[in-house]
């Protein structure tokens, strides 16, 4: 050190003391392999997710917002004064929920979400509540009155005997009534009962808004396994394979052999007497039932050629067997004017009236037409893509593939398709959802989907 200092002074060069010396910059240039390897080994390793990370369950909603059915209050009443209320949510929007939602149903302007939890709150509702289809939602401002529009998923109090043991299996919504299915305490119905669709006697001039009445139905031949709401009627499917119906019957949708209203759930006869039914479906005024042997039966409205393959009449009030030679049927779904079925091989067939999914030229057909699987992503490169589920809204259809992709088509009423565009879609179109879609519920002008995240 001293020698260096002496040397510096001898040469006449003034050097700054060691502490203040600035290092000379190293020349930049393409890094050699050795430099790269050293820099790599010196870096810290970050861990974002561990080996046992589970996939998260999410709920996505899209469609018409003003009714509050999407459950996001800032769409209807924005938090900031300068923002305008959003009329339509054209693409999937994430809805935060407290629990994992196992079943969802979209009615005409309202939505029900339910979870299989053992907590006290098992069902949440949002949207229109003018007929108490979401139960009684007590208003904070006035404790005697209820809300007409519910903007956020609000818990629905159910009169359960064992609230911490019973689990809610499924929910279903119609035009102004809703059904909640539990595993041990029967079916709870609420909402409009002017046609007996809630399963209780019709009371003249009853006011349905702000009503606390939730009816419980228990008298069936065995446990109810599936509940389905049509527009103004209700269908119940029991474990033994029988189907019960109540509600409006002017189009024969109750299938009981007459065109009057029924206020007590009654068993259906006709072609399904004695047949083990594994699935029922309805949304408008037409109903379809699938048996365990792959046959499909239909009854109800046939003005749009839904049942024209067996009869010329426009209303069918007894379940009729539909002789389609398309293979064993696994699942069926009914819309307002069109029907869709899924066969065991994974093929999708549509018939009825409206935008059926085979281009703008096919408007109506009485015989089921197959939708080519290449529209669902099937190709020589991906030969094992199959449609796993089919769902129907009032004038739109949805199909879920085994890869978790959601395809929609039909009339794009107020943005309900979720494609991001406002135009009608004449053939199946993918909806980009950030996750694997497990189930979807279609309504008139909005849709709700249950999604699992990717990783």
């Amino acid at each position: 050190m001293a020698a260096a200092a002496v040397w510096g002074t001898l040469r006449g060069v003034r050097r700054p003391p060691q502490a203040l010396r600035r290092g000379l910059a190293k020349p930049a240039g393409p890094r050699s392999v050795r430099q790269l390897r050293e820099a790599e080994e010196a870096g810290p390793v970050f861990q974002y997710v561990g080996k046992a990370a589970k996939r998260k369950d999410r709920v996505f909603v899209w469609g018409f917002c003003y009714s509050g059915a999407l459950g996001v209050p800032s769409f209807v009443k924005p938090d900031v004064g300068w923002k305008k209320p959003r009329r339509i949510q054209p693409t999937p929007y994430r809805l935060e929920t407290e629990e994992k939602i196992t079943s969802a149903a979209c009615g005409y302007g309202f939505t029900l979400l339910s979870s299989k939890t053992a907590d006290i709150t098992k069902v949440w509702g949002m949207g229109l509540n003018k007929d108490s289809q979401l139960g009684f939602q007590r208003s904070i401002r006035d404790r005697t009155k209820g809300y007409e529009y519910v903007l956020e998923p609000s818990p629905i109090p159910l009169p359960l005997e064992k609230p911490q043991e019973t689990r809610v299996l499924q929910v279903s919504c119609g035009r102004a009534h809703s059904l909640i299915l539990t595993d041990s305490e029967g079916v709870f119905t609420m909402g409009n009962n002017s046609y007996g669709q809630c399963g209780r006697k019709v009371v003249e001039d009853e006011t349905y808004s702000e009503s606390h009445l939730i009816h419980q139905l228990k008298e069936f031949d065995s446990n109810v396994v599936q509940v389905v709401c049509g527009q103004d009627h209700s269908l119940f499917r029991t474990k033994k394979g029988a189907v019960y119906a109540c509600g409006w019957g002017a189009d024969g949708q109750t299938g009981l052999g007459h065109y009057n209203i029924t206020s007590v759930p009654t068993k259906l006869r006709g072609d399904i007497a004695g047949v083990n039914i594994i699935q029922v479906s309805s949304y408008g005024d037409c109903c379809l039932a699938v048996s365990d042997e792959g046959d499909v039966f239909g009854w109800g409205n046939s003005e749009y050629l839904q049942l024209a393959s067996v009869t010329e009449t426009t209303q069918v009030n007894v379940p009729r067997y539909l002789p389609f030679k398309i293979g064993k049927i696994k699942e069926a779904a009914c819309g307002g004017t069109g029907n869709i079925v899924l066969t065991e091989e994974g093929n999708v067939f549509v018939w009825g009236y409206g935008i059926l999914g085979k281009g703008p030229n096919l408007i109506e057909t009485a015989v089921p037409e197959m939708i080519p699987p290449s529209l669902f992503g099937w190709s020589g490169f991906n030969p094992d893509i199959r449609v796993a589920h089919v769902r129907c809204g009032l004038s739109q259809f949805a199909a879920l593939t085994n890869r978790g992709e959601l395809f929609v088509w039909g009339k794009n009423l107020r943005g309900c398709l979720g494609t991001g565009r406002m135009e009608d879609q004449y053939f199946p179109w993918r909806v980009t959802v950030p996750g694997e879609v497990v189930d979807v519920a279609c309504g008139v002008d909005h849709m709700v989907s249950m999604v699992k995240s990717f990783t």
């Binding site: 790269l36 290449s374 490169f381 053939f427 993918r430």
Partner: protein
């Protein structure tokens, strides 16, 4: 090329003086080669060759690279307008993220990757394929409400026939041994750096990070690896053979697509 036997020289008729029988000079017609066609006068036949390049292949990538010679350059523009898909094998490595998405870049981050399984990767690839398929239909500029759009969509023939952002038509996983993996990508209008970016984004989606180790083009429209000439075969004979083999393929493809 210049050493190969060239065209035969043109012949023309000239009247040459020849000795007559009586001592008077007469003219005799004779067919002689034109002096201007003589190789020593004309010089070598080929001094320059016009060469054109097909779709770009950058320095860090390898694979099939299409070139056109002379009159073949006109076919190059036609092939470009066909908008055919190209196929790449892309190799990736989990656990690292670099600034230029390849393993020769400056390290940005290191992450763990033991939670990644083949099933998760395939799920991400399915979603990439789905969104790109949607982009394919949207950028093809066809009105979705027409019957012909429906028919083309059923056959799978909808393709953007003009400028469009890079679109991946098909992607699948060929090999998966942690930390390395290999993908086969069919794409349109892409650059190799875009493919490296896709590898990086796959790493991000899987909550880890990935860099691209290899990009190799194995197919460019009608030309596959079998038609391509490796470095050892860059001689006149193999080039001529390759041109004659591909001629028919190129012609049928152009007729099919451009009509």
């Amino acid at each position: 090329l210049n050493a190969a036997p060239g065209r035969a020289p043109r012949q023309h008729v000239r009247f040459l003086p020849a000795p007559g029988d009586d001592g008077a000079t007469g003219l005799v017609a004779a067919r002689v080669p034109v002096l201007a066609d003589h190789p020593l006068v004309r010089g070598p036949r080929f001094r320059r060759l016009k060469m054109g390049a097909g779709h770009r292949l950058d320095v860090k990538a390898s694979g099939v690279f299409v070139l056109g010679i002379g009159h073949g350059n006109k076919l190059l523009t036609d092939l470009y307008n066909c908008h055919l898909t190209k196929v790449y094998t892309v190799g990736g490595l989990f656990g690292k993220a670099t600034d230029d998405f390849s393993d020769m870049g400056k390290l940005v981050e290191k992450t763990t990757f033991d939670h990644i399984t083949r099933e998760k990767l395939e799920r991400i690839l399915a979603v990439i394929q789905g969104t790109n398929h949607k982009a394919l239909l949207m950028h093809s500029n066809i009105d979705m409400k027409t019957q012909e759009a429906y028919e083309l969509a059923v056959k799978g023939l909808i393709r953007p026939m003009g400028k469009s952002p890079p679109i991946i038509t098909a992607i699948r996983c060929l090999q998966f041994t942690l930390p390395e993996f290999q993908l086969e990508v069919h794409c349109l209008h892409e650059t190799q750096q875009y493919l490296r970016k896709i590898v990086h984004e796959i790493g991000l989606e899987l909550k880890s990070s990935a860099v691209c180790t290899q990009v190799r083009r194995i197919r460019d429209g009608v030309f596959t690896l079998d038609d391509a000439l490796p470095r050892t075969q860059w001689n006149l004979q193999s080039i001529q053979n390759a041109i004659s083999d591909c001629q028919l393929k190129v012609k049928t493809e152009l007729e099919k697509t451009l009509g």
